[in-house]
């Protein structure tokens, strides 16, 4: 009887299937007016409400749609939100593939191993894993990676923070020793280490006495933990907060305690107008539009795409002129130009030491899959060359002047 009941239920429901939307097209369709339509899946770790990481991808998505529409390419997006870095990512990729997406973009680092479980079943679909690094070594044609030189943007954010700290020292608000930056990091992971090191080097280039404390929260996105970490850092005497995590809570924490802040992924001056000086973000619209355009034109999507400030892939959010130190805008323009023409290297080995020594050697790539870099010397010509051998950052050195409060994550 129960069986019968369920069958009845199934019957009733299947009658309603007629009203359901069908699956999408499976091939690029060129319509009569000369426009082409392409269906692209975007799998996201959060949703746009984070006002940070995923929001930044949604901005990139919308920007790419606009750029491509002007060229006669219509992009039909299928965006899947709130997917974990777990097997639900396998299901999301299958779902997007079955629903007719021709390109599927995975937006979080931890998605890649799960995405790779699906790619061989759909050889005609192009899979993109942002911020990860398996593609150059996985022997497949339909997988791709992409990242941008966000360390350049972080260096400039560091310069802005350093100028503010130097102003506070010069005005006698703090002593030179009290110029301490607190950094909220997600994990003790190459991308994060590379980010806070470049930020610190930017700050120290204009404020020589600065030091930094880093606290890891063990999550890319945990609004409460990020806020708690920021408050703990402020309690330890930090007067400037920055972050590599997805939410805006470090900015609001800084504002509530009357210290300053620089952001990531989004302009946070709106929610913390008295604290947030500037932010930096990756402009994913540049990459998305290039990749989709290449696909539509029948060209290869770059296997491992990476671009920097010169190409517009990394941008600074508007400077909060009301609270920034005088002359900051000019200094930022000067550093941007120096980065663009190559006269300034972010990881110049003469600007930092490791356990008191100058860094002379570090490998970039892991070729044998044991998760330790073992080939391609990254240190040459007096600098560590980040994101050159692969787009995903590989700077994992702990430099002097930065104190890791917890490295368990």
């Amino acid at each position: 009887m129960r069986k019968l009941g369920l069958m009845l239920l199934a019957l009733v429901l299947s009658c309603t299937m007629l009203f359901a939307g069908g699956a999408g097209e499976t091939a690029t369709t060129a319509s009569a007016d000369g426009t082409t339509t392409v269906k692209v899946g975007l799998i996201c770790i959060g949703d746009e409400n984070d006002q940070g990481y995923t929001y930044n991808f949604i901005r990139g998505r919308d920007e790419a749609t606009q750029i491509l529409a002007e060229e006669g390419i219509n992009v039909e997006w299928m965006t899947i939100f709130n997917i974990g870095e777990d097997a639900s990512c396998i299901d999301a990729n299958i779902e997007a593939a079955e629903e007719g997406c021709q390109i599927i973009i995975n937006n979080s680092y931890g998605f890649e191993p799960f995405m790779l479980e699906v790619v061989d079943d759909y050889p005609e679909i192009e899979f993109i894993s942002c911020t990860n690094c398996a593609s150059w070594n996985d022997g497949r044609d339909n997988t791709h990676n992409a990242f941008a030189n966000i360390y350049e943007g972080r260096y400039i954010a560091g310069v802005v923070a350093g100028m503010k700290l130097q102003q506070m020292i010069d005005e006698g608000q703090i002593t030179p020793e009290e110029a301490v930056i607190g950094y909220v990091g997600a994990y003790s992971f190459a991308e994060v280490i590379s980010g806070f090191t470049s930020y610190f080097l930017g700050a120290r280039s204009v404020c020589p006495s600065v030091t930094m404390k880093v606290m890891f929260v063990g999550s890319w996105s945990d609004a409460t933990a990020e806020s708690d970490a920021a408050l703990a850092l402020i309690d330890e005497g930090c007067v400037m907060i920055s972050q590599h995590s997805d939410n805006t809570t470090p900015a609001t924490a800084a504002q509530s305690r009357g210290v300053f802040h620089t952001g990531y992924n989004n302009d946070m001056t709106g929610i913390a107008p008295n604290a947030s000086l500037i932010g930096t973000r990756i402009d994913w619209g540049i990459y998305f539009s290039q990749a989709i355009r290449a696909y539509v034109n029948g060209e290869e999507i770059p296997q491992d795409w990476c671009a920097g400030m010169g190409e517009g892939a990394v941008v600074m959010t508007p400077l909060n002129e009301a609270i920034a130190a005088p002359g900051t805008a000019e200094k930022v323009a000067e550093v941007e130009a120096a980065l663009a023409d190559g006269s300034l290297e972010v990881f110049d080995t003469s600007t930092f030491t490791v356990a008191g020594e100058t860094l002379t050697h570090a490998y970039a790539l892991d070729t044998d899959g044991d998760f330790t870099a073992d080939s391609e010397e990254a240190v040459y010509d007096g600098a560590f060359h980040e994101s050159e051998f692969q787009s995903a950052p590989y700077f994992t050195v702990q430099i002097d002047g930065i104190e890791w409060l917890n490295s368990a994550y």
């Binding site: 009941g5 009845l8 359901a20 777990d86 299901d91 999301a92 994990y187 994060v192 998760f371």
Partner: protein, 362 residues
Amino acid sequence: MREERTPFIRLAKRGSMDPRKIWLIRVSSIVIALILGFIPILLTGNNPIAAYGVIIDGSLSRPVYIRQTVKIAVPLLGCALAIAPCFKMRFWNIGGEGQITMGAVAATFFALNFAGTVPHVLLLIIMFLAAAIAGGIWAFIPAFFKAKWNTNETLFTLMMNYIAIGIVAWLQGGPWEGRKGSQLIPMFDDAARLPNVLGVHCGWILVLVLVVLMYFYMNKTKQGYEIAVIGDSANTARYAGMNVGWIIMRTMFISGAICGIVGFMTVSGANYTLYSGVANGVGFTSITVAWLSQLNSFAMIFISMMLAVLEKGANTLQTRMSVPASISDIITGILLFAMLSCEFFINYRMILRGKTKKEVEK
């Protein structure tokens, strides 16, 4: 004066009821739940009929979708089978989550360390046994305390879940971590993966075998009878000379072992790696499966498939109609609530105050 004190609604246990009437109540509760489910869908601005269509379409319309749906149903069914004997015994094992997780940990240990040296089938058998033992031990601990010192098994098994999840979180960031700082355990080698049969990992065959085995165990064996007697009255069981403590420990070990096997199937057949969310709420959802099936193994197949259809369909609902996944969680919740509460109305009847006199006269 006395009549005024009578509560407005009273409940009385029903005697027997016409089976056809029982099924009418059950079917109508599902219909009512589905109609109530219109409300959240309407709130998102979509057509509810179309939304239900998408749920069915997204879970059953293509071979790939059916496979995905079965993949969701397998652990639900396995875990429901595991906890059924405990519930029959009125031992509230809500630690399925932790037992699955510990089984997965044990299987993963062998998958990570012996994939290169041990042949495929042998490795899978070792992982299977290790997972069963680990899950069994995890369930045995609260059973031991219950049998010796009559501790509260509900709290105990619940707390054991968090310990298991904590252990995996530590392994993820510590000894088993892949790329430094990534918090990800590497994907399993092919030698540690369950083969697919008809496109789904062969765990589905295993759970169907378990359905039959569990049916016989519960209905045709002495141990199954002992469990039923303890469930009805532990004192009767004692009077009849049964060693209640021993039976509790034995039953919990079996229950935990099956949960552990579910954990093994999940890491080896579906996820190919271990992470702290490996149990994914199955340990709790399967309680509903077991209850709705009234602990009948065969009914569990249909209930777990129904929940899997809702879950898989919800994903398609999100991608096609931009309905947030949480909306379908609400619909599932309404459905489960209606189905569980209809059992209440089958067992009890409500007597309104006005009716009291008539009832008494009768």
